[in-house]
Amino acid sequence: MRVVRAVVGTVGELAITAGVLLLLFVVWELGVVGFTTNRAQAATVDTLERQFALPTPTTPSTPSTPSTSSTTDTPTASPTTSAAVPVPPPGDAFAILRIPRLGASWAKPVYQGVGLDVLAKGIGHYPDTQLPGQVGNAAFAGHRAGHGNPLIDIDTIRPGDAIVVETADTYVIYRADRSEIVPPTDVNVLAPVPDQPGVAPTEAWLTLTSCEPKYGSTNRFIVFAKLDRSVPRAEGLPADVLAAPGGNG
């Protein structure tokens, strides 16, 4: 009897210990990591804003050969051509993502690359996709659970919602078009024309990918947005763009 009681007691203590361990992990992931990540991301956004506010030095990317007529009279609203924009180095923060639907002050740094180390810091830009504002598809990934849960409410984004990518010289304003849930291997959502692989793009798209269900990863939650307009930084971001969107959140 003494032996049985000792064994049952030890098993019970181990089970309680395992439960406490799991609880501690949740506290760590959602509390400690979330807190530190959100603070670090806010600091990065501040740094980017200060960098962007500096007068832009004459860009080294200006082609040495005189460019042809196509660039001279392009209206600001049209997407930029791909040749002019330098690709950011891997792991560098190069833009700020703002989605008013997720909060009036919701702003996250965008890094080049989608490795776990990059995504632990903020939103990641798929390196093989276009840059924000370019014709084609600029695709981003972000955590929905853990690491500050940047995209935890991605499913509340409604068609027409503004999604703003702020780069060093431009506010690229997208409007959400539609969302869908796909298997993790559905690379077509990253195609230059989303969901239409092989079709030559004529418009600028943005794709957001995160996990689905919330706190799971069996599928991916995708939001597609289409370019509304690009506003040069010098003109400032129109105030109404970041206003709280109507409708149910």
């Binding site: 007691g9 760590w28 989608v114 990641g124 799971g216 991916r220």
Partner: protein
């Protein structure tokens, strides 16, 4: 298991309680600083990207 640990601590009830709390704090610190950061990348909810084959990195 924990009863044996309790008997192992020297001193009276107050001293034993303090030692137990200290030991718990040390364990939590080890978990938070080394164990959990090592485990987290292997958990499923970290996967948010679209990849042609699962497990590949782009």
């Amino acid at each position: 298991m924990y009863a044996a640990l309790w008997r192992l601590f020297p001193g009276g009830r107050l001293a034993k309680t303090l030692q137990a709390l200290l030991l718990f704090a040390v364990v939590v610190a080890i978990l938070f600083i080394w164990v959990f950061p090592a485990v987290a990348p292997h958990l499923p909810f970290e996967d948010v990207t679209i990849e042609p084959t699962t497990g590949a990195t782009s």
